[in-house]
């Protein structure tokens, strides 16, 4: 076969969200990959500037469906930093608890997706069944399955009752049992190991130079975890191990994630045991003093970063966020080099991509000339008004 260019995306069964990989194949071997993002741009950062600090929590929580708590906590931390608020201990513990439960459900989800990508649907069905336990728990303690809405500036909105604690402990026991079984499956199932090991290699040097984060970096032996390196919430008061392996392939990333699941159960138990009594929120004035703040958070997919600038009013002047997938996107292209087309879905899935969180700008690329242009807010608005006017719609 000659070289062929296969479009994986923007619509493709391997991708859960639109992104476009144009893959140049020589037979089954990938010789070149071109990644285009931007199909899911929603203008959230800009929309934040039109809303108050409080409203922005709920908007930013919707950046991602899976790591919603990560984004809202990251943002709230930056705002609290600006306001100089002293958040009560109990609130910090609850944030940690929700954060770790979120990591559990995100990693279980990933395990299922990874199973599906390599055609191992049984693993997919099993791990998603168990993920329901966490989702139901969320529904019980926060009122929502996905966007928990538990953060507020200066604390959390809901307290955890004694009954909730019992439920959580029971769920964690069940999940720990099941996770042990998955570890057994991942380390013993021959076809699964064959499909995962020595696929999507990313050396330590590449991690450093491409700036990969989260489980991807830790699977290449880079010992980096914001929870330990720059503790936030209650992480400075719990002890846990940062899981790293030296495999540097998709199999290593699987091991890191199931290992982190076990650590999360450990953290949840500690948090519940040491949770202090007291208020769950402090009052923070509506207008946030002038200044800028930067906040880091270890989301399930890697380090999440928010930057907030205030001009002294009740609305932020600028909110900038960088989702972990953006940091890993470059690494994916490196990982794909010289592997088979059959490995593409699992290599892409191995960074646990979340493209809608990542899309920050639209750059329009003209296919015929190859030139690109970037539109700013004003010209985009003008363009859309003209587009509608041409079609006879006035507003």
């Amino acid at each position: 076969m000659d070289k062929v260019v296969i479009p994986i995306g923007p619509q493709h069964p391997a991708l859960k969200e639109p992104a476009s990989f144009s893959v140049t194949l020589e037979g089954e071997k990938i010789v070149d990959v071109n990644l285009r993002l931007g199909y899911n741009h929603r203008g959230i950062e800009k929309a934040c500037e039109d809303r108050t600090f409080m409203q922005d929590i709920y908007l930013l929580e919707r950046v991602c469906g899976i790591c919603s708590h990560s984004h809202s906590t990251c943002y709230v931390q930056a705002v609290e930093d600006l306001a100089g608020a002293e958040v009560p201990k109990r609130a910090l513990y609850i944030r940690t608890l929700i954060g770790e439960l979120e990591r559990v459900h995100s990693h279980l989800l990933w395990l299922g997706v990874a199973g599906h990508e390599v055609g191992f649907d049984t693993l997919f069905m099993y791990s998603w069944r168990d993920r329901e336990i966490v989702m139901d728990l969320f529904a019980k303690i926060t009122g929502n399955r996905v966007n928990y809405g538990i953060n507020t500036i200066g604390g959390v909105r809901r307290d955890i009752s004694k009954e909730d604690v019992q439920e959580i402990l029971k769920a964690v026991d069940t999940l720990e049992e099941r996770t042990k079984y998955y570890i057994q499956v991942a380390t013993q199932e021959v076809t699964l190991i064959n499909r995962l090991s020595n696929v999507g290699k990313l050396s330590r040097a590449d991690v450093e130079s491409l700036g990969a984060v989260g489980p991807v970096a830790r699977a290449s032996g880079v010992d980096r975890d914001t929870r330990r390196d720059d503790p936030y919430a209650a992480y400075s008061e719990v002890s846990f191990k940062v899981v790293t392996v030296e495999n540097a392939d998709v199999y290593g990333r699987t091991l890191v994630r199931v290992g982190e699941l076990m650590e999360s159960y450990n953290i949840i138990r500690q948090v519940i045991k040491n949770m202090p009594d007291g208020p769950i929120t402090v009052k923070v004035p509506r207008k946030i003093p002038e200044g800028e703040a930067f906040s880091r958070y270890e989301a399930p997919r890697g380090e999440d970063v928010h930057y907030v600038k205030s001009n002294g009013s009740d609305k932020p002047e600028r909110v900038k966020l960088r989702a972990p997938t953006l940091a890993n996107a470059k690494a994916v292209l490196k990982m794909l080099e010289n592997y088979n087309l059959a490995d593409l879905p699992i290599i892409v899935a191995a960074i646990d991509p979340c493209f809608s969180c990542t899309d920050r700008t639209i750059s329009i690329k003209k296919l015929d000339t190859g030139s690109s242009e970037i539109m700013d807010w004003g010209s985009l608005r003008k363009y859309s008004i003209e587009w509608y006017r041409k079609r006879g719609i006035r507003f």
Partner: protein, 312 residues
């Protein structure tokens, strides 16, 4: 004339095969679901899918070779249905048989795979093309072990006719146990032939969308899916006749019930394999096939050659 028409269209022809194919698809899906802790489809799901597809629009791609594209599903269907008349299903004798029909059945069963390749090739779509090339690559990997194992069973019986093989194994009651290794290998090869996990590489949806069938829709797709269902019945029946020939000489009713049980257990084995394995890559599949399955089927052949010498 009427009798032949009944044979071709009703029993054991098209109608019986379609119905049993769909029932087996249901059994497979339900078992697969149960293994995975799911509820699974209701019994009429395969029928409903078929009827739905018949009602849908046929879309033929602009760039496809239209005649080939449209006729291939029927070629595949005809070949599979034809091969069934040589397989004994209620007694030791099939409807038709002659010395050499086992070869004919095996070749007729190769035709669907070849049409899958041609279908992908004539679709002129990238995903179909990759799927087609994979189907053909896989074809060369599993076909040799499948032929070898079935032929070694025929060798022990000293005949090239499936019906006479059945007669032989029913006269020599426990001889089929010598072929158990071959049976295991044939099941693995069958997973490749039927494109099921771990060998569903040609239609791996996360990699090549629908593989060969990416561009197919409506009636044409319905007939391809029907062909695949019927292929399951025919292949399972072939394996049952060749490797599990016991109890077929008692009486037609018991023979037919036993036949159904054998086919169901083969389908259950296939579902189990589908549950516990992940999909392999095409290079891993070819390696596995030539490194382990092919040499082991040669071993079965040698065992049967020696056995035949001992018996005579």
């Amino acid at each position: 004339m009427v009798k032949s028409l009944v044979y071709i269209l009703i029993f054991p022809g098209l109608l019986f095969l379609s119905a049993s194919g769909m029932i087996l698809e249901y059994v497979d899906r339900k078992l697969y679901a149960k293994f995975q802790n799911r509820v699974g489809p209701p019994w009429f799901q395969p029928f409903a899918d078929f009827i739905k597809l018949l009602a849908k629009e046929d879309i033929v791609p602009e760039e496809a070779e239209k005649k080939m594209f449209k006729s291939l599903p029927f070629f595949a269907l005809a070949a599979t249905v034809t091969s069934f008349v040589y397989i004994p299903i209620w007694g030791t004798n099939a409807l038709f048989s002659f010395n050499g029909d086992v070869i004919v059945v095996l070749y007729l069963l190769s035709i669907p795979t070849l049409t899958f390749f041609l279908a992908g090739y004539s679709s002129h779509s990238l995903f179909s093309l990759v799927g087609a090339v994979r189907a053909l690559t896989q074809f060369f990997a599993y076909e040799v072990p499948l032929f070898l194992t079935i032929l070694s069973s025929a060798l022990l019986a000293g005949t090239w006719s499936i019906s006479e093989m059945s007669v032989f194994y029913n006269q020599h009651h426990w001889y089929w146990l010598f072929n158990l290794l071959g049976f295991g290998l044939a099941i693995i090869a069958l997973l490749g032939k039927l494109e099921k996990v771990p060998f569903d590489i040609p239609e791996a949806e996360t990699e090549v969308v629908g593989g060969t069938f990416t561009e197919y829709s409506g009636r044409l797709l319905a007939f391809f899916r029907l062909t695949i269902d019927i292929e399951v019945v025919v292949c399972a029946a072939l394996l049952a006749a060749v490797f599990l020939p016991f109890g077929m000489d008692l009486n037609p009713v018991i023979g037919f019930v036993l036949f159904i049980l054998k086919v169901l257990s083969i389908v259950a084995l296939l579902s189990l394999a589908r549950t516990v394995f992940a999909r392999l890559r095409i290079d891993q599949m070819v390696n596995f096939s030539w490194k382990y399955i092919a040499p082991l089927s040669f071993l079965q052949l040698i065992i049967n050659v020696i056995l035949q010498g001992v018996i005579k």
